[in-house]
Amino acid sequence: MTGTEFNVRIPPRSIAWGKWGWLAALAVLLVWSYSVGEGEILSLFTREGFIQFKSYIKNFWPPTTDGAFLSIVGHAALETLAISIGGTAIAAALAMGLLYFASSEDLIGAGGEWDATAPYQKMLRRGIFISSRALLNMLRTIPEIVWAIFFVFAVGLGPFAGTLALGIHNAGVLGKLYAETIENIPRGPVEALRASGSSRFTAFSYGAIPQASSQLIAYSLYRWEVNIRAAAILGFVGAGGIGQQIHISISLFLESRLATLTIAILILVNAVDLLSGYLRRRLEARF
């Protein structure tokens, strides 16, 4: 024997048929999906498509900058900002209000008292828990734009309808996020409070909420970032804000105004992202 003996075994590559099956299914899915818009997408890459594209893009520049329009844009942007803040606040308030009911027995009844609960109470509590989770699910599933149509019908055109729409839809989203957060906290403090005689609600408020509060605030800020984008489009159904101006500009083929409005959205969204990010970092540093 000469030289050093190496005893390294490289694992043989196995052909995983399961993997190929998944890939094939994925390929079929993709081809089928593209078939829905194939004609239009391919037409973008023809000569005519390109010429059309060029003339369309040209209309965007320069963006409209006359004073009257800018003040409209400014007002609309402020309105969008206000809708997003108000909507997030309503959502957070509703979600907090529902959080106790949407928290499982496993959390609130920590300490094994479930077995000692009377059957009718068990049923009542389960009923409340399931129906509040179902309510949150319903609020979340109906898109904000459908809520907006509903509230425009109920309270009339304008930013109030948009605020309500964002608030109701996001109450469902935040409710779910809050509930998931609170389910994952250590049970110790809740159990200790229950053992020393606190009521269920007190144990929940002082044993569970403080542990989760910074995470709850962080989630609310994150939703604010999502909501500023949503608020920008609610105007399409008459719920106020910058979306209404975009709708008008598109309907009237005013591309240079569209450019101004798009820039306004860019500024607004980035400003909110920066502010929310700053607040979240402050929050992390504090807790």
Partner: protein, 285 residues
């Protein structure tokens, strides 16, 4: 004997910064309500209560007749197609951009250890792809998919193509940013080992970073596909087809029984994609 006194821990005082932030948030919320003419009484007014009740009751019972259900099949499939094709386009656009937007590949970090020292201007030059791709990704994700879709409607016509392009561009911005963040957080040791054996930086990324991050990237993409389903449904409201368009039409025609059916279908679709994506994510990670 000197026992430590058993006084309960004192609350730290509220700092000026904390106070300012809390007051600022409160002021922002109050002025937002003022600005949007917030008036809960409007909701509770007997007239609007009655209107809302009528409106809500109008949804019941959902129209479950076979003929109507059959007509909703195509839009439901269209929503799936929009979401899938849109997400695929987003990967196509977003992944290459994310490679440029990963700071550890272009700016600093352990992958640069042992590199010859370059001048400031050269460093600046090497960083340009990073800044350009970051700017592009930011613009793509700051504009909501609905507005992207509207911009594309003029080019691709009213229909699913505008929706695919809208989701594709907006989600490419999100995927690109998140992909870059995932790769920035990846373990660099395999890549460093490759560098030590003489691999170039792109090779080290390709064989050292990508395989390790692949599952996380895939899992996040699946999550985005799920979000795409919701987005695709909403895009219908500007004419991109799918369930959203049907919901919009039925609401405009005051056919609320049908709206209810369509919303239920949307719920089922989202729940289904939720289940599929979380099943696949568990399988892959």
């Amino acid at each position: 004997m000197n026992l430590p006194s058993a006084s309960p821990p004192t609350r730290p005082p509220i700092s000026a910064g904390q106070f300012t932030i809390t007051a600022g948030i409160a002021a922002a919320i109050v002025s937002a309500f003022k600005f949007t003419e917030f008036n809960p009484l409007l909701l509770a007014a007997p007239g609007s209560l009655k209107a809302m009740a009528e409106f809500a009751l109008g949804f019941f019972p959902p129209d479950l007749s076979f003929t109507f259900l059959a007509t909703t099949l195509k839009p439901a499939f269209e929503t799936i197609q929009l979401a899938t094709a849109g997400t695929a386009l987003a990967i196509l656009l977003g992944f290459p951009l994310s490679l440029m937007a990963t700071s550890t590949f272009h700016l600093h970090g352990s992958l640069f250890e042992g590199d010859p020292i370059v001048s400031k201007s050269q460093k600046f030059l090497f960083a340009t792809p990073y800044w350009i791709s970051r700017l592009m990704l930011n613009t793509m994700r700051s504009i909501p998919e609905l507005i992207w879709a509207l911009l594309f409607v003029r080019m691709a016509g009213l229909g699913p193509a505008a929706g695919i392009l809208g989701i594709g561009v907006a989600y490419a911005g999100i995927l690109g940013k998140v992909f870059a963040e995932i790769m920035e957080g990846a373990d660099t040791r395999p890549a460093l080992a490759l560098r030590a054996t003489g691999a170039t930086r792109p090779q080290a990324v390709l064989y050292g970073i990508l395989p390790a991050s692949f599952r996380t990237l895939l899992s996040y993409t699946l999550y985005r596909w799920e979000c795409g389903m919701r987005a695709a449904a909403i895009l219908g409201f500007v004419g991109a087809g799918g369930l959203g368009q049907q919901i919009e039409i039925s609401m405009r025609m005051f056919e609320h029984h049908r709206t209810a059916t369509l919303i239920i279908e949307l719920f089922l679709l989202v729940a289904l994609s939720d289940a599929i994506s979380s099943h696949l994510r568990k399988k892959f990670t």
